[in-house]
Symmetry: D3
Subunit: 334 residues, 6 copies
Amino acid sequence: MEQVITFGEVLMRISPRGHKKFIQSNMVEFFFGGTELNVGISIANFGGKVKHISLVSEDFIGDAALSYIQKFGVSTTSIGRSKQPLGVYFLEVGAVMRPSSISYNRSHSAFSEIVPEKVDWPHALRKGSWFHWTGITPALSKGAFETLLQGLKLAREKGMVVSADPTYRSGLWQYGKNPKEALTELLHLSTIFIGGMDEINEALGTDFSYSNDDFMEASKMLMEKFPSIEKVFDKIRTSVNSSWHKIRARMWNGTEFRETTDLDITHVVDRIGTGDAFAAGLIYGLQHYGDYDAMEFASAACALKHTYEGDINHTTVKEVKGILGGNTSGRFVR
Amino acid sequence: MEQVITFGEVLMRISPRGHKKFIQSNMVEFFFGGTELNVGISIANFGGKVKHISLVSEDFIGDAALSYIQKFGVSTTSIGRSKQPLGVYFLEVGAVMRPSSISYNRSHSAFSEIVPEKVDWPHALRKGSWFHWTGITPALSKGAFETLLQGLKLAREKGMVVSADPTYRSGLWQYGKNPKEALTELLHLSTIFIGGMDEINEALGTDFSYSNDDFMEASKMLMEKFPSIEKVFDKIRTSVNSSWHKIRARMWNGTEFRETTDLDITHVVDRIGTGDAFAAGLIYGLQHYGDYDAMEFASAACALKHTYEGDINHTTVKEVKGILGGNTSGRFVR
Amino acid sequence: MEQVITFGEVLMRISPRGHKKFIQSNMVEFFFGGTELNVGISIANFGGKVKHISLVSEDFIGDAALSYIQKFGVSTTSIGRSKQPLGVYFLEVGAVMRPSSISYNRSHSAFSEIVPEKVDWPHALRKGSWFHWTGITPALSKGAFETLLQGLKLAREKGMVVSADPTYRSGLWQYGKNPKEALTELLHLSTIFIGGMDEINEALGTDFSYSNDDFMEASKMLMEKFPSIEKVFDKIRTSVNSSWHKIRARMWNGTEFRETTDLDITHVVDRIGTGDAFAAGLIYGLQHYGDYDAMEFASAACALKHTYEGDINHTTVKEVKGILGGNTSGRFVR
Amino acid sequence: MEQVITFGEVLMRISPRGHKKFIQSNMVEFFFGGTELNVGISIANFGGKVKHISLVSEDFIGDAALSYIQKFGVSTTSIGRSKQPLGVYFLEVGAVMRPSSISYNRSHSAFSEIVPEKVDWPHALRKGSWFHWTGITPALSKGAFETLLQGLKLAREKGMVVSADPTYRSGLWQYGKNPKEALTELLHLSTIFIGGMDEINEALGTDFSYSNDDFMEASKMLMEKFPSIEKVFDKIRTSVNSSWHKIRARMWNGTEFRETTDLDITHVVDRIGTGDAFAAGLIYGLQHYGDYDAMEFASAACALKHTYEGDINHTTVKEVKGILGGNTSGRFVR
Amino acid sequence: MEQVITFGEVLMRISPRGHKKFIQSNMVEFFFGGTELNVGISIANFGGKVKHISLVSEDFIGDAALSYIQKFGVSTTSIGRSKQPLGVYFLEVGAVMRPSSISYNRSHSAFSEIVPEKVDWPHALRKGSWFHWTGITPALSKGAFETLLQGLKLAREKGMVVSADPTYRSGLWQYGKNPKEALTELLHLSTIFIGGMDEINEALGTDFSYSNDDFMEASKMLMEKFPSIEKVFDKIRTSVNSSWHKIRARMWNGTEFRETTDLDITHVVDRIGTGDAFAAGLIYGLQHYGDYDAMEFASAACALKHTYEGDINHTTVKEVKGILGGNTSGRFVR
Amino acid sequence: MEQVITFGEVLMRISPRGHKKFIQSNMVEFFFGGTELNVGISIANFGGKVKHISLVSEDFIGDAALSYIQKFGVSTTSIGRSKQPLGVYFLEVGAVMRPSSISYNRSHSAFSEIVPEKVDWPHALRKGSWFHWTGITPALSKGAFETLLQGLKLAREKGMVVSADPTYRSGLWQYGKNPKEALTELLHLSTIFIGGMDEINEALGTDFSYSNDDFMEASKMLMEKFPSIEKVFDKIRTSVNSSWHKIRARMWNGTEFRETTDLDITHVVDRIGTGDAFAAGLIYGLQHYGDYDAMEFASAACALKHTYEGDINHTTVKEVKGILGGNTSGRFVR
């Protein structure tokens, strides 16, 4: 069965409504998310089979998180429980020139306690054909890195596709491991690279510009250094300000460079999880279409995510295809 | 007395706040509406006398609906009660390239039970000078079509103005009647046609383009086929996306073609009922001004509706005139 | 596997917050429910395996309903989709001497379209050991009655336990079938009877009082007339008013009469679904404990449901056992 | 036509949800009310014809107030507009031993500007058969007192019934008039006295106790001093605390003393307007039933008001009769 | 110590959520504000020491107002209490071409009762180095004007900087004083003039245009007439519509004319208090930077205020500097 | 100056509205609290001078917490900032027999990082006359215990009153210190003991019953073992269930045993912080009244806290005295 495996922390996001600050109102709302889970749920919303692997807290917050994941039809059978609390992040949503602010409470979270013994990888991967990981997981704790590494090794042994979104966030990586070293080990077990020049430069130690020429050159160099990698996809965001973005994508698949046109997101509703929406669109796309069509699908999915509140992309294949079919005028669907 | 008569279904609209989906939140809000009622309430908000004719449910939802209509000073004395539930529609509000979605629960609603015997037309129209109908009503049930037909006949006998907004929605019309035939009968009882090329082409069986030349030609042909029709008004919407629209209008009154300039609605709050707001503005306008001024009034009223939540246009004559007077900068009114 | 099968309509409940009426506020909240689904979800919350069988609408409301059921880990694989809208009920919550009011919009709902061909019973029941039905389902439509009948026959063939909650609501039963006749057919396929004197009198055409003696006598008579029935359980509610109830239960299992003491619910939060909570507690209880202990478990579960908002009993085995262990003082659980 | 006339200030009530203080939350809700308007709307909810006479502000708050009154079918044709703002009161709702707190902003309100010239009494009363006033109105301003006096004189000339609820609130009466003198003039124009020992003692300058004997004696003395008064009704509240009240009523109609039994309101939702609900029940009751039945109706109406949020009694004749028929167990109305 | 003194009315702002009208929803939210308090709190949010001087009501609304001010660390030790209610304003927030509407209830407010004896100026100003006033205060009542005048005289004696924002609102000024005369007296006690051509023309009785040349000329003339004034700052707003503004600023400090570039506020969240945010940014800026840098700081602070709900600018020095450093793309702050 | 010093963790409490679970709604509200802070704010609400000492997070949550404390006029000048997140607890509010549930996320919180070097005790206590501590603080971390110990030593040197509420919560105390040993050290520095038989038995290693006789005996033994302790106060809660409690108190001050009568809290709004409310009432009471009057004041304050949402007791001296004066009927305060 074509099951996609995602592995990573489940976070609770708490934020005031609209553009308020915590100092302004005591009414807040929460969503569950986490970069890899966002990818998984989005794929499930496209109709794909997905299993998410994680550790959540034993309390009623952990219960609510599991329930939230089940609600989207994502398998929770490989999610364990931990005595530590679920990771939380607080969000204040900006607008126009005011950036959104995030504050994390995750450094001793349920997931940070994960160690290889807590995941029965052979069982967890038994129906899997695709494994998706991001650069957040290995940054969280030694155990998280090692558990991921073990999972990826088995995935490759089983011939699964492995997509990597090696986002590098320097504020994490507190446990001592050298980020570049860790990412190098993991990229050697990956087949699809989802990331832009920042991630490539980080992986290669280079200094390429954002130009298409540099992207192509860098991609080639990346594929030389990491021979398992077959394709490189890059999503490019241009921000007028917090409330107005444009999205396009480009790719190098070893033989062909392609790029999409800009999608103009004039009124951003919620930008969190839009990168995850791109990854999810790409994974679903590559499972069903050719490389360019997959990238276009991912691009439109990413744009649509900006219109949904919360971390999750609720969009469907039909909606994405509507955009690709040119229907961006927003006429009612009855 | 110059009372406007509107006749049609009262619907309850239920939707999550903001851009949420039903899957995301169990807090929702409701409004009452319905295309003809929206027209009536908007005219009442301009200060006009209005009576709405309908059937609503006998339960506390029907009570709340009646109460809602009374709140705007629209007469409810010709609204009957039915054992069937009130029609409902669920709405998920889109943004940017995401279209809004609507799901209806109206096929066995209170109003669909209407038959000519349930309306005492002579009494209902006794103070009326204008009758407004839309293409939704005859599409709902045989009884609805026949009741409307009877009302229009009496209205014409009494010399009332009859405005028609013959919107054609193919998803309705389940009861067997041929739509074109039904609309033909009804248009022969109408004096003002509010609708664009789609409605004209539907009525004539033609294939005119959206150009001004075609509009003029089509309008002439329409007035030949339906000699009771004296004026044709068309509202044109250009959508950048779900959140950004432009509105303009054009008309042919038998002697003169005119069009307005675009009104730019950069941040759509709620587009439901904007067509009804145009019709209401036109009716009120034609009662008080010349044709072109009425159309400009309607156009500005329509644009303003995009800034009000719910189905109802809450705008006033003063506010519309403010826009027409060039005050579109949004300075405070204190 | 010990899977409980529930079969019945999924309803959307919409109500204003607190004790408001629809005329007072346009902010409302919704829950999904339905008497048999409530039983199923409550059992799942106790840790049981449950599959719910139904038809829901094809629209986003149906999506949300499925999602809601999945959230509690209840299997939705035998739930089909229908072009009709999901059944809805509107609720205004009373207090003290003011009764709560309910208005239904379900007579042409998705579920009312069900016919035996729409359920693959052999597949649906393949893991089932217990089938629970209520008197609501056969009252909804001919198809619903026939589909249920077919399911029960197969259930009995497979030797499943069949629990019946033959609530008789006269406002339903519009499709022509004689209620008593229908219930008689269904009770002949049942093994556990959950219901009080009203249901027994209805089934037997008798006129027993509410006394314990009459209950015992009536139960014996019931078991004579319906030899498949092995046990009778009755939940007794004493209402001080809308906001203050007392609950106790009694049973006759062919050899033994037992009754529990009153549980005093001094501040009712939400009484909808409390009967379903009793049934769920009983089913779970009978699967794990003896008859009396099961009844006590059911009774405490029922009392606890009065403290949860919505149709669903969110209580857990641990919480119920806390009450049974005498901890009703409401000390914090940390 | 049997129209009831009410005359008095329309107030906007603003309060936090639940039992919060303004210091705790910036989300609040508002209702419109005012003691005489509450009486009027409650009678309209029973199905009576009602006209309210007042002055409201010219701004959008005044618009919303008018709209609110129309919503209940109460005639607003004799309500004028004023440049002053609408009166406001802020409310913090207590519980148990914590009393509710009210803070007024009404001393320069729209209504306080009223003078006899602002009300066209002959036109306003032309369909009226009953005039209801309270002791709040003459306390607000000289103009309010004089306008009321003029209205009552005409009412008596026309032979209308005049009911008086001469509540005395010492915090008002800032404009110089002697309260006792003013009330004396107004009571001489009244036929029904609604009030307890405090009001009678105030009117007579006596010191009667709350006993039934004293009530009877005091009533007789009252009717001697004010020969126009034919009946005296008294509602008695016994408070366990803020959240738990008991209500009963007693009467002297010149020939007969009667009293009702206690109604036990174990969970008060909102006690504001419960006195008005009694007056409204009494007026409606006296229009349709004998004295004792009217008092029982008023008593049950008053009890039911404690279960509705806001100032308005939303109860219906059917609901009140349900209580009187002994149905206080709060079973669902479906 | 470098304490900024602000003096003026504290108002309670009440408005429906989003773009609703009061007629549409009974859920509203409130904030406290007032033009001078807004300036004070914004400076406190930048880290400045601030004392606000005022009179607030004695009730729980006044308590909540004091609490609100303390929350931001602004000193309330010189705020007195009054028996009058706190001033209130109601707001309906417009969008696109619909202007926002405000209705005031302040003419007999707590603050309007202020007289010089109610403020102990020597004590109130003992730590102050800067006094900020606006044209609203002297317009409210004779006492307010005189109290301000007395405060300014002492401030100048102590050598404090005095900034004036002499906004002229003709709807106020009901108590008889000639506005121009009053402002002239107050401007002779001021050293920084914050205002545009309207305010300068008002002060000088001139008719200058909005051009930079006229601004410069007018500023010179102003500084001649009011020799205490050393610098003139003007904020210029260009409105596309209610939802889309642009802000820039210009200055003349006696030797140098400078202007900033436009800041484009494509999605206005709340424009109330944006002028106050400019004044606050300027005061803080002039305390810490040179004239042009202060004006740029003020301009960015003003732009940022458009993204915060409520009257208060919650922005920080770090956030403002981010904008000035060119980071207007709205990337997350983690 | 008579400043009360409180020292302890500031927690953020997050809970769904009403009786919902996190699984039921994504709208939640938050309050700040913490047992010692609750005491401090309650005293400030009585009009006392209070300084709270703590460590809060550096992020916007910490900002909001500081702001919240300032709002009540409690001094925050000795509160430091930490890179760790603020402690959080999640709460699901029970009803009737359903207990409330709490889940903590505090084990690596900002406050747990505290060490003696982070508090400048001589400066912090310079205006203090009373120090209040609880058994929660020494249980959190070694640093918290040691910092408290150091503070108490200085407090005693300065002759401050030290009140101890040595609540023992076994789920805390993870860092290795023996609880009894720690509490013994701290009690030797305390002068007022606030706690019941559980705390006394814990401190003495005894097994006294809850009877008054045992209480007296135990108190004597306690005062022998800890000679610094002069008075013992005990609050006794009797729970009908989660929604209905009774409160009374008793004391032994070395010479006199006294107890209060029960206060009946028939409708509990929020019981969190009610113990803190007792302690606060006692401290304020002992500062102003004799021992018995202080205990009665504390008892009424505690009862009143049950009517306020959130952790904080918002009650005032006037409100408490109202109760003591016998006004428990909940009449309006206007």
